[in-house]
């Protein structure tokens, strides 16, 4: 294994992963903050460094439609988007998943309009969580790069054959310069391997139908298959992570635990905010406080038993959501984890903190404050306010 360490933005790292994967087709439409991912990749296409057919389309609805067509034809297909672009793809997201087309799509997380905002939150991909795609959240540029490469293998695995979204935080990661270790081209080429489509439409000797009308007599059976296949992806994701460790030395699981085993209180948070939380954990550990972190990596399929078990020994936890489920009982991550802890039968005291909407910063003091609040809850045994909105002005 040989690696190259570079200083690069999250989008630059993602574009480099695209280059090394060298997909057959990329159909994409620019949207902030995804734009320079596809822009950098189109430079690789123009320079003849990849064999990819780059299809420029007039909207994200068309981008995802072209991806569905190209994947059904039998190609290895990728695209990328953000926020309103993902929303415009919505109809076709479901068709890609239900047709079992292994498309890989980085989604650079950005707040959905309105009011219009270009900065990070998770309202876009949380809205798409039931579309049938596997969802992988990345903390930094390194994880974005690593997850995109692994996503190709996960999507194309014969037991899975589903599209995969790989998320990283808009601007914070997409435009911030990070230290990234790139694998060499041959290593990535060999790792992703050659794609074997199941039923390529271009195989004219075996004519078949994609997307036929499917009414009350079979639609339900097809949905049952999808439920099974996405759940089957869990061991596959772990197996591929193992193979990835062999080529990179970097560890991936369904989630990451940071000083969790002997912790008394913990924060659960996705993506870049987990990086800030790690710094706070280190600082508070230095002062002798038993704090920890759980950072989910795979949100769909949600590893509910594994996460509930990993949290079961704690006294109090704060689950942080960077999106709102309006009118719901807390944010999407909170709802999943509360429900999972019920199944596991043992639950720490818990609160839900909605934070960072529309790119509002979360800093170390905010996170220290959350750990302080968890200590209060442990001391008093009482939760004063279950669902909170961090830093909103009254």
């Amino acid at each position: 294994m040989s690696t190259k360490t570079v200083a690069i933005t999250g989008n630059g790292a993602a574009a480099y992963a695209f280059k090394q994967i060298n997909p057959d087709v990329v159909a994409a439409y620019p949207i902030t903050p995804q734009t320079d991912l596809v822009q950098s990749f189109s430079q690789y296409v123009a320079d003849g460094l990849v064999h990819t057919e780059l299809i420029t389309v007039e909207s994200e609805h068309s981008a995802m439609s072209a991806c569905v067509g190209a994947a059904a034809a039998g190609g290895r297909v990728m695209t990328a988007t953000s926020a309103n672009g993902l929303a415009l793809m919505f109809e076709i997201l479901y068709i890609a998943a239900s047709s079992k087309l292994p498309i890989v799509m980085p989604v650079v997380n950005r707040a959905l309009s309105g009011p219009i905002n270009i900065h990070c939150d998770h309202s876009d991909t949380m809205a798409a969580r039931d579309a049938g795609w596997i969802q992988i959240y990345s903390e930094n540029a390194q994880e974005a790069y690593d997850n995109i490469i692994q996503a190709v293998r996960i999507a194309e695995n014969m037991k899975v054959r589903l599209p995969v979204m790989v998320m990283y935080d808009g601007f914070i990661i997409s435009h911030g310069i990070d230290r990234v270790d790139f694998l060499d081209d041959t290593t990535v080429h060999d790792f992703v391997g050659k794609y074997q489509p199941n039923y390529p439409l271009l195989d004219i000797d075996k004519p078949l139908t994609f997307g036929p009308l499917d009414l009350y007599d079979y639609y339900f059976e097809h949905k049952r298959q999808q439920a099974e296949d996405i759940n089957n992806s869990k061991p596959v994701i772990l197996e591929i992570a193992k193979g990835f460790r062999e080529i990179s030395g970097r560890e991936y699981g369904l989630f990451e635990s940071y000083h969790l085993e002997d912790a008394e209180t913990a924060i659960v948070v996705l993506s870049s905010a987990a990086g800030t939380t790690k710094t706070v954990v280190d600082e508070l550990r230095g002062k002798g406080r038993k704090v920890g972190l759980l950072k989910p990596r795979i949100f769909r399929p949600f590893p509910y038993m594994e996460i509930a078990q990993a949290l079961s020994h704690l006294k109090a936890i704060a689950i942080l959501d960077r999106s709102v489920s309006f009118g719901g009982f807390g944010g999407p991550l909170f709802t999943e984890i509360r429900s999972a802890m019920m199944e596991f039968g043992k639950a720490p005291q818990n609160i839900n903190i909605i934070f960072g909407l529309g790119g509002r910063d979360i800093n170390q003091q905010d996170i220290t404050g959350i750990y302080d609040q968890l200590d209060e809850i442990v001391k008093s045994g009482k939760v004063k306010e279950r669902i909170q909105y961090l830093g909103v002005r009254e």
Partner: protein, 105 residues
């Protein structure tokens, strides 16, 4: 109900794909019919206008002559009766036949 046995979720191709071409014949749409076209052999001139117009290829023709109507697939749209220049096709209430044929409604 279709005559095809309905399969379980583990038995069917994934992704809603249909792996064989030309299998729509197996899907018997005749059960959709509320009106049945009945052809009068005496009036029929075998001009084949009904065969031309039938949207479901349900007019059975052999050697240039109309042999009958494929009731397994005819949806009872009535186009054949409307187009027949000899007025040889009459649309009748399907229930009359179903009772006679012992088909449950």
């Amino acid at each position: 109900m279709s005559a095809i046995k309905q399969k379980g979720w583990k038995e069917i191709p994934k992704g809603g794909l249909i792996l064989e071409a030309g299998n729509s014949e197996q899907y018997e749409t005749g059960s959709w019919r509320s009106q049945r076209p009945v052809r009068d052999e005496q009036k029929c001139t075998h001009c084949l206008i009904c065969w031309v117009f039938c949207p479901d290829s349900s007019i059975i023709v052999e050697d240039g002559k109309i042999k009958g109507i494929d009731y397994k697939h005819c949806k009872g749209c009535g186009i054949c009766a409307a187009e027949c220049p000899a007025k040889a096709i009459e649309m009748k209430d399907e229930n009359e036949f179903r009772e006679k044929e012992g088909v449950k409604k």
